[in-house]
């Protein structure tokens, strides 16, 4: 029989690292009835035993103060994992144990994994796992998830508990509380109908949660009118007990001071005057390395491969095989032009992804949120929104997912509504193509201005939507500032690889299909006969239907209408579609420069910037918001805004150019 294990711990405790260590890449996303969000499940074998491991969100307590905490609670109440692994950041023991003291009361077998114990030792401290285990009544194992130490020992302990669940439960209910609270627990228990409580849960814990008013939103009748500070009093007693335990298990001071290195770095990067110049420098440097001379150089090598070497090699090969012009056209004008046109940008995107994950892992992202909070507060956002917004420069999908760091549902919706306007890296190929064709000398001015328009659109949208979405609520900026950590290369490499692979697999699936479909529609007419005249093709008919929409914006060509349509699958597809459609002997950029005026080209880029990034983003919005209505409204708003702003810019541009 499969064993089910759940991972639970504070945010930043190393939970995801351990999850990845245990499961490798073998994971799926699962829906759990009774649990509001999807959870990741990893599958692996340990000593012949098949194990499913559920990655619960990072939480601070089992009380339902945040969407994550509600999710974790729902899971524990409705499901029955064989073992709960509670990951504890040893360098932050006091606060992490608060959640642990709640978990050991639930009745679900617990194994505590004391992570980052090696870092503690660097500070000259040592943690007594045996002593902690005696005090909590559950097994405790020291591990280092990033250095892959102690994971086997942890799994052995977990397997013991799978076979003998009582090992993972304290032999009696933990004695954290004063006589008064205990009496209240007894009193509350007598009011609970046993049939309402799942068997695997400890009735005393259910009573405690009720006292704290968090048992599925009901308040027991006998507590009505007794004041609502039970939660605070119970919390204070838990912390008091933890304060007694910590000095008994930690040799030497439990106060881990911010280490000297972290202090010195923060004195500079959070400095009253230098903070913003440094912040801007870092951002500019990242974009300069990724898209400046260095990135462009690599990009050109790749371009040579896809534009010249590969087509001519394919051409020679096919002439030898004598396969005929149709297959050759499909391969060269369809697949290589389409997929290649997108893959060309891979090295530059990898550089961008690399720097963004470096910012995330090192701890600088939290500082950036800290220094920008006040600016974002003016728009009804908080510094926490800054992280999804910056990730939006990479890709809108992880950016939408990163909205989970935000405190409340309303804040999440507000930030989700604006991150699609942050110019994602898939839009860059389109900018680069048009910049080369129209604005060669002012390439960086044009691209920079597009990024700015994107940020502006995001902020103004936030300002406009705030009254609707926040309903008077003000965002609660509560942020843990982690110590700077040296980058753990295999973790960064894994993130980089996952994002790169996502891009490649999209090129190999969505973009490949789009390229073939576009090629087919472009080379066949309505009678499904091969036609050399692309103005007779099915695609041109479709494009002609849509083109009038773009007439007022200066780019009412059917080829462009079709490119924008395929761009909904992925923004890079705008480039691949134009490559296929305009690949009639001349280079795409030259073909474009004969079609459009510079104001129209710029207006088109603004449209590309602002309209819906891609179907994957819409899917992410659906998943994270849980509502189709939100997705539909976002889509309509993005389309309308893109058209309107593009129109204004085209009109203004005409004043200067005519």
């Amino acid at each position: 029989m499969k064993a089910e294990i759940a991972l639970l711990g504070n945010p930043n405790c190393g939970k995801t690292t351990l999850f990845n260590e245990l499961t490798g890449d073998n994971k799926t996303v699962g829906n759990w009835t009774g649990v509001t969000v999807t959870l990741e499940v990893g599958h692996f074998h340990y000593q012949g035993q098949a194990i499913d491991i559920v990655d619960l969100p990072g939480i601070y307590s089992l009380l339902t103060h945040s969407p994550e905490q509600i999710t974790a609670c729902e899971y524990l109440v409705n499901y029955h994992p064989d073992v709960l692994i509670n990951i504890v950041d040893s360098t932050n023991l006091e606060r992490n144990l608060y959640l642990t003291t709640q978990l050991v009361e639930t009745g679900v077998p617990v194994v505590v994994a004391l992570n980052m114990e090696d870092e503690l030792r660097k500070e000259g401290l040592s943690l007594d796992a045996k002593a902690l285990s005696d005090r909590l009544g559950v097994p405790c194992v020291k591990i280092s998830a990033t250095k892959r130490i102690g994971i086997d020992k942890l799994m052995q302990t977990v397997m013991h508990v799978v076979h003998k669940p009582e090992l993972g439960r304290p032999s009696r209910f933990p004695d954290f509380y004063s006589a008064e609270i205990k009496q209240q627990i007894d009193e509350t228990m007598s009011h609970i109908d046993h049939k309402d409580v799942p068997e695997h849960l400890n009735l005393r814990w259910v009573a405690l949660q009720m006292l704290e008013e968090h048992w599925q939103g009901t308040t027991p009748a006998h507590l009505a009118g007794m004041g609502d500070d039970w939660e605070l009093r119970i919390g204070e007693e838990r912390y008091a007990r933890i304060r007694e335990i910590v000095p008994q298990v930690l040799k030497k001071s439990p106060f881990i001071r911010r280490n000297e290195m972290t202090k010195r770095i923060d004195a500079i990067v959070c400095h009253r005057i230098w903070a913003f110049p440094i912040f801007l420098m870092i951002m500019l440097l990242i974009f300069y390395i990724s898209f400046g001379p260095f990135g462009s150089m690599i990009n050109e090598w790749f371009g040579l491969f896809f534009d010249e070497w590969l087509p001519s090699a394919t051409h020679s090969l096919l002439s030898v095989l004598q396969t005929g012009p149709v297959l050759e056209s499909l391969l060269i004008d369809g697949i290589i032009a389409g997929v290649g046109g997108v893959l060309v940008f891979l090295p530059q995107l990898m550089l961008l992804f690399f720097f963004l994950s470096l910012l995330e892992y090192s701890g600088y992202m939290a500082r950036a949120a800290f220094i920008t909070d006040k600016l974002l507060a003016r728009f009804g956002l908080s510094g926490m929104s800054f992280i999804p917004m910056v990730l939006g420069f990479g890709c809108s999908v992880p950016a939408v997912m990163a909205c989970r760091v935000l405190d409340s549902r309303r804040e999440r919706l507000l930030t989700m509504a604006i991150v699609p306007f942050m110019s994602c890296s898939a839009r860059m190929p389109v900018y680069l193509l048009f910049a080369a064709a129209f604005f060669a000398s002012r390439k960086w001015l044009v691209i920079g201005s597009l990024y700015l328009i994107g940020i502006l659109a995001a902020l103004l949208t936030a300002l406009m939507l705030r009254p609707v979405l926040m309903k008077g609520d003000r965002p609660l900026f509560l942020m843990e500032m982690p110590p700077y950590r040296k980058p753990v290369w295999h973790c960064i490499w894994r993130t980089l690889w996952l994002r790169t692979w996502d891009f490649i697999s999209r090129a190999g699936s969505i973009i490949l299909i789009a390229s073939v479909v576009v090629w087919f529609l472009n080379n066949f007419n309505l009678q499904l006969q091969l036609t050399a005249d692309s103005s007779q093709s099915i695609l041109s008919r479709l494009g002609m239907l849509l083109a009038p929409i773009f007439q007022p914006l200066g780019y009412g060509y059917w080829q462009i209408a079709v490119a924008l349509l395929t761009g909904l699958m992925a923004k890079e597809a705008v480039v691949s579609t134009l490559s296929v459609l305009l690949a009639g002997g001349t280079a795409v950029d030259i073909a474009l420069s004969t079609m459009l005026t510079p104001p129209a080209a710029y207006a088109l880029l603004v449209f590309v910037l602002l309209y819906t990034p891609c179907v994957a983003t819409l899917a992410a919005l659906r998943r994270e918001s849980g509502k189709w209505g939100f997705v539909a409204r976002s889509f309509v708003y993005q389309m309308a805004l893109a058209w309107f702003v593009s129109w204004i810019i085209y009109r203004i541009g005409l004043l200067f150019f005519s």
Binding site: E94, R95, E231, V246, I256, D266, F276, M481
Partner: protein, 98 residues
């Protein structure tokens, strides 16, 4: 609750501390329940000793050390948390019994 009566108007709120100063939290009654409960989860409660690290470059939010880790939040909340300065920052963790 009992703190509210004994304290007078002369109270010092958390956002008035200087960089590097340590203080004990004496009252968090001014906060709404939702915020107070979030702080409880994060280990910021009555009797706790905090070290003020710094303000953000624009003056808001503020950054503290509590329970040996670092936490940042906005001044509007810090204004509702009252503290008393303690002369020297603690080296041991046993002092915070209130």
């Amino acid at each position: 609750m009992k703190d509210t009566q004994t304290e007078n108007q002369n109270r010092l709120s958390l956002d008035n501390l200087q960089n590097g100063e340590c203080a004990r939290i004496v009252s968090m009654d001014g906060l709404d329940t939702r915020t107070a409960n979030r702080f409880l989860d994060l280990g910021l409660l009555r009797g706790e000793i905090v070290t003020f690290i710094q303000r953000a470059p624009l003056g808001d939010p503020i950054w503290l050390e509590v329970k040996g880790y670092q936490l940042a939040f906005r001044r509007e909340m810090a204004r509702k948390i009252y503290v008393e300065r303690i002369p020297s920052c603690p080296k041991k963790g046993k002092e915070a019994q209130g």
